[in-house]
């Protein structure tokens, strides 16, 4: 009996991860984190760095915000303060992660270092924390949701930058180069990701 409950909860955590990454992709279905995508996605190696940093930060901040919201704000009836709390918490977490990383792993710090300040204003991070409130998730499920959302963003920005590297070498009609063509590429990619929808129902 216990075994069944355990495997069931493991399955649900796995499903939440997959659905956050594919069917509900934070970039292609929820439109979040577009600014950094349009700005940074012209090279694959930068995208890999930023994607990894975002995945890490979404996981940590989703867990932190979950704790603060359900154990501090809800008991005190201060739900309306959630926006300010979340953004301050995210900024503080990013700062803290940066400092810890500098001490613990020099290599990781230099690989992700320049991207970390950018992340504070990345709407994908705040977005994941806000969408999490609409869902009846427990702590582990929230962790999976944060990690899945970050991973989906990582996947999308890497794919887009791969295509953009090739596109930048071709000649385009006037006005289309830059954000115009990138948006149309993302549109085609979103069309492909729509194909995933309906695969998982939670």
């Amino acid at each position: 009996m216990e075994q069944a409950v355990l495997s069931h909860s493991f399955l649900s955590i796995f499903l939440i991860f997959v659905s956050a990454a594919f069917t509900d992709n934070i970039l292609l279905a929820r439109f979040l984190g577009m600014c950094s995508v349009l700005g940074v996605s012209n090279r694959v190696d930068t995208s890999l760095g930023l994607g990894a940093a975002v995945t890490f930060v979404t996981t940590v901040t989703a867990a932190l915000n979950y704790g603060i919201y359900y154990y501090l704000l809800v008991p005190l009836n201060l739900e309306y303060l959630r926006l300010i709390t979340f953004i301050v918490l995210i900024a503080a977490a990013v700062q803290l992660i940066e400092m810890i990383m500098e001490r613990v792993s020099e290599r990781l710090y230099f690989a992700l270092g320049i991207f970390l300040p950018l992340i504070t204003v990345n709407c994908a991070i705040l977005g994941i924390s806000l969408f999490m409130l609409n869902k009846p998730y427990g702590f582990l499920q929230t962790l999976a949701f944060g990690a899945g959302g970050g991973f989906g963003w990582f996947l999308a920005i890497t794919l887009i930058s791969g295509i953009r590297e090739k596109i930048d070498e071709t000649k385009l009609p006037s006005g289309l180069a830059g954000p115009g063509i990138t948006l149309i590429i993302i549109g085609i990619m979103a069309l492909a990701f729509v194909g995933f929808s309906g695969m998982i129902k939670i």
Partner: protein
């Protein structure tokens, strides 16, 4: 700054339009434009927050220490967003259910941070207020244009009113209300507007 209100207005609404020229604030531009009613609420919210936070930051610009100005600006913006969020929830609870998370995301909307940092922190209150208002209007213009294409094509309605064509011959394009439609529309609008801008600067140069 000696720019008059009119110059600021024209510059922010068209020549330096936040959406297609500076490519800022895209996230919400895509998410809320499948229904015109949602779009209007979002536009009003963004315009109010940009104008008011610009005004406040400009009034306080000499008292904010340089080193911590980012966090102070974020807190000012967050307070205004919170007010807008509460007002929308009270006035239109149905709409708030759809656009709620995106209203919260106005905080990280790059337009507002950009105007606060780039204009309000160096200018007097009145021009800053006009600048914020104009940026908001420039943003709203594009959003309403996108919504006016997506809603009729996707649902066959405008503001929830069924268009006569839907009954007779129009087959609704579901793609327009889904995410890909938003990306295509914004891509095409950016293309068109940038093309016009490039041509006008080319003729001025001659």
């Amino acid at each position: 700054m000696s720019d008059s209100a009119g110059t600021i207005l024209l510059r922010d609404v068209w020549n330096d339009n936040p959406v297609f020229r500076q490519v800022l604030g895209i996230c919400s531009a895509l998410a809320v434009t499948n229904l015109l009613a949602n779009t209007l609420f979002m536009c009003a919210g963004v315009t109010i927050v940009t104008a008011m936070s610009n005004l406040t930051i400009s009034l306080l610009r000499n008292y904010i220490p340089k080193r911590i100005r980012m966090i102070v600006q974020v807190l000012i913006i967050a307070s205004f967003v919170m007010m807008v969020d509460i007002v929308i929830r009270a006035v239109a609870p149905d709409i708030h259910r759809f656009i709620g998370p995106y209203v919260g995301l106005i905080i990280t909307n790059c337009i507002i941070m950009g105007r606060a940092e780039g204009f309000a922190s160096q200018n007097r209150p009145l021009p800053s207020f006009v600048d914020g208002l104009a940026s908001g209007i420039g943003y709203s213009m594009i959003l309403i244009a996108i919504a006016l294409v997506r809603e009729p094509m996707g649902f066959g309605t405008v503001l929830g009113v069924v268009l006569p064509a839907r009954e007779i011959w129009w087959h609704q394009w579901t793609i327009m209300v889904m995410p890909p439609g938003a990306f295509f529309m914004l891509g095409v609008i950016t293309w068109f507007a940038r093309n016009r801008l490039e041509k006008s600067t080319a003729t001025e140069a001659k």
